[in-house]
Symmetry: C2
Subunit: 133 residues, 2 copies
DNA sequence: GCATCAACTGAGAATGATTCTCATGTTCGT
DNA sequence: ACGAACATGAGAATCATTCTCAGTTGATGC
């Protein structure tokens, strides 16, 4: 349960910087491509490792698309959830205190411990609602 | 938006029967292995196709594990969510009317339409809490 | 019962994201 | 600067899922 010491490397700084620069979710693959095209020398494995480690420590935010792909984003506050536009990918951070409490209460009621939950809302945002149907 | 006509084949019946027989979630791979070891002649692709088609029509229930694997189960009622034990895999169906309403309300408040959501709760059930920690 | 045709099937290849391997490169403590 | 442990990265390996396409089978008409 204790976090291991982590060395400060050029690659990790590059990843962190790339995340800080923007506020949209990106996959490890995208991030890797962007870093490479930005001149950085970094391997895909390192991007995956670093993103997972950061997400693990709660330093960045992660969500999984319906296609099973993991997306990452620089994340601010503690625990929250996302409203994702399935057309343009825009995301809105939402706080889900109620839903959260409900999840924990429900799980506890059934005798479950060590409870975690995933909650993502997918839809079409106002800008994209007009187009395809 | 209209469901295509579907022929009644031996394979689909086998899959449906296998699902009806039990009440736990299984992956397409597991289901395939079970059908094969049960003497059925069925291909993996068919299992995947059929499960997806059934889930698509809402005839069976599907959830995605944290590892990104899709699990299926014969499903009764309409929309609901699951409480999954991460140790023994036991699942409890829970109704999440409140959480549901919250999700829709929140999404609508942000101008989103065509809203869907995923909500899974993972934890350790009472039977498994005693063991490993 | 038999022919016909389109939908269904299935073995294996293809795909695509993620993880693993392990030799090499870096960081950190001294 | 030195050494040792940790990090890196190119590419292979893994693993679930999807695709391909020729052969099979169910539904239908006669």
């Amino acid at each position: 349960m204790s976090e291991r010491p982590r060395r400060v490397t050029r690659q990790q700084q590059a990843i962190t910087a790339a995340l800080q620069g923007r506020d949209d979710f990106r996959s490890a693959q995208e991030l890797h491509a962007q870093l490479r095209s930005g001149g950085a020398t970094i391997g895909l494995a390192t991007v995956y490792r670093t993103l997972q480690a950061l997400a693990d420590e709660g330093l960045i935010d992660m969500l999984r698309t319906e296609g099973g792909e993991s997306l990452y984003r620089a994340c601010s506050r503690g625990h929250h959830h996302h409203l994702v536009c399935r057309t343009c990918g825009r995301t809105v951070e939402v706080e889900a205190d109620d839903a959260e409490r409900w999840a924990i209460r429900t799980a506890t009621a059934y005798g479950f411990t060590d409870v975690e939950h995933t909650l993502e809302i997918f839809g079409r945002c106002a800008s994209c609602s007009g187009s395809g149907g």
